[in-house]
């Protein structure tokens, strides 16, 4: 399944029920909180015709504060209403109760963090009564007390908590350039059976570093990484993300088609 992000800017086009070549859509979970208006109606309309995934940005699994059960309840209500094919969030923290930075902030990759996150993820999955996919992020700093690689940490987290991994290939590439590691080593270290979903997106070269902007087509080296990983897990849902300077829907469809061609027949 090759899908694209469901974004507000495409609502008028999608309302005309066009013949699309995409297999599924993914919405940002929090965009459908506290609304009974058009966004939710659009999501429900899309859900009637396509499988839908819900991708969260505010679970904040790595926050030093307690899990926010009000947030979990709202999310669960939405899941029960939409019945998404896949649910996901990020390996990060985003803020505390009184301040949310609305950004995906990095964690220390060590045993202590693993011991902290595993029961939290298990609680979340028990609460939802389903498996969640956790996504690797782009980070512009490392924690000095990290003593594991990101890929070892992510793999151990998935093995111990029972979650799946949302492998963002663009983030792996961006981090490989910024943090200086071999992205193929990362991909090969993640067992195929732990991958629940894959994301593809574009980044911006800021000169001093690569920035994960989701504002460009997928970079050629990212396509190569995708080709390397998808070959043995062709049935994994794949998503084209584009969140800034969002182009016409046909551009997203073309990116999805490229992903389909690289993946090859199922």
């Amino acid at each position: 399944m090759i899908g694209v992000g469901l974004r507000h800017i495409h609502f008028p086009y999608l309302e005309t029920k066009p013949q699309t070549t995409v297999d599924w859509f993914e919405g940002i979970t929090e965009n459908f909180f506290d609304t009974e208006g058009r966004p939710l109606k659009m999501l429900e309309a899309i859900r009637r015709d396509y499988p839908v995934g819900l991708h969260g940005v505010s679970l904040s699994i790595g926050s030093a504060e307690e899990l926010d059960f009000e947030y979990l309840k709202k999310t669960k209500v939405l899941y029960e209403r939409i019945k998404p094919a896949v649910i996901s969030d990020h390996l990060c923290w985003t803020g505390h109760k009184n301040r949310n930075l609305h950004n995906l902030l990095p964690l220390s990759y060590n045993q202590a963090t693993l011991n902290y996150l595993v029961p939290r993820l298990q609680t979340v999955q028990e609460f939802y009564n389903r498996e969640i996919c956790i996504e690797n992020l782009s980070a512009y700093l490392d924690m000095r007390d990290s003593d594991m690689t990101e890929w070892d940490f992510l793999r151990e987290l998935a093995k111990k908590s029972g979650c799946k991994i949302l492998l963002d290939i663009n983030n792996i590439y961006v981090n490989s350039q910024n943090h200086q590691f071999d992205p193929y080593k990362y991909l090969d270290a993640i067992p195929d059976h732990l991958v629940g979903e894959m994301h593809l997106a574009g980044f911006t070269d800021m000169g001093d570093f690569l920035f994960d902007t989701h504002s460009r087509p997928v970079f050629p080296d990212v396509w190569k990484l995708f080709q390397h990983k998808i070959k043995n897990i062709k049935k994994t849902p794949v998503l084209i993300e584009w969140d800034e300077d969002i182009p016409e829907f046909s551009v997203l469809e073309a990116e999805a088609q490229k992903a389909r061609e690289i993946r090859g027949p199922l």
Partner: protein
């Protein structure tokens, strides 16, 4: 989990300070220094939150212009950091904040935009449609949960309609006209009706009395002109959906 690091990080981003103790806990990557790495997150936070404010208050932004909007926006963000899970709703206090900053006209525009988005996100209720004669009989209770009456000393509706225009396209447009508006939800969309002053007064009385004949009776006691057929048509357009 490192609570101390997270608190320091939040302070460094939202209060725009560099914290040496924080730098001992993190390591920058690529060609970045610690200060620059922190600035990546600080700039991103600022951009995301201003963008959210800007998309909720597009017409206010247009009216104030980039410099004033960004300057007021930065002050607002400092005073009201986001604690929301969904940034889409950021800026609920912005109209009140503009009023406190003596931005009287911008307040009216922002208040309109806040109410527009409130209606946009409200539930569509299934309503029975009545005939005008049934409304006039006075035995119908209206549901005014999803409607707002607004009066402003400048044409906020015209500003709203042109909110996506480039600044130079606005040069010949006149926004100085005082307006009376009603906003309500109609078949999933937010409807905006511009009313005449007498129609607005009658609409206000209808909202107060929730009874059409009583409102008309109260209106007749005021020294106001009679409503024209066009006024009545607009009033019934709204009432038939309320």
């Amino acid at each position: 989990m490192n609570l101390d690091f997270q608190k320091r990080f939040l302070d460094a981003i939202t209060n725009n300070v560099n914290d040496e103790a924080l730098f001992t806990l993190m390591r920058p990557v690529a060609k970045l220094t610690s200060e620059k790495a922190l600035a990546v997150y600080r700039d991103d936070y600022s951009a995301r939150i201003i963008e959210a404010l800007g998309s909720n208050y597009e017409a206010t932004w247009l009216y104030l212009g980039d410099d004033d909007f960004f300057s007021l926006g930065r002050e607002y963000i400092k005073k009201y950091p986001s604690h929301l899970k969904n940034l889409t709703y950021y800026g609920a206090e912005f109209p009140k904040f503009l009023q406190e900053q003596n931005q009287a006209e911008a307040f009216y525009i922002a208040d309109f935009e806040k109410k527009f988005w409130q209606l946009f996100n409200s539930k569509d209720s299934v309503r029975k449609k009545y005939l005008p004669a049934e409304l006039m009989a006075g035995n119908i209770t209206f549901n005014f949960d999803s409607c707002f009456l607004l009066e402003a000393p400048l044409n906020i509706n015209k500003l709203w309609q042109h909110r996506a225009a480039a600044a130079h396209e606005l040069e010949d447009l006149d926004f100085s006209k005082e307006v009376q508006l009603i906003l309500y939800k109609e078949e999933g969309r937010v409807a905006i009706l511009e009313l005449t002053k007498p129609t607005y007064e009658l609409a206000r009385l209808i909202l107060k009395n929730n009874h059409l004949p009583q409102a008309i009776e109260a209106y007749c006691q005021l020294d106001l002109p009679e409503l024209t057929p066009s006024d009545w048509q607009k009033l019934f357009t709204w009432l038939l959906h309320s």
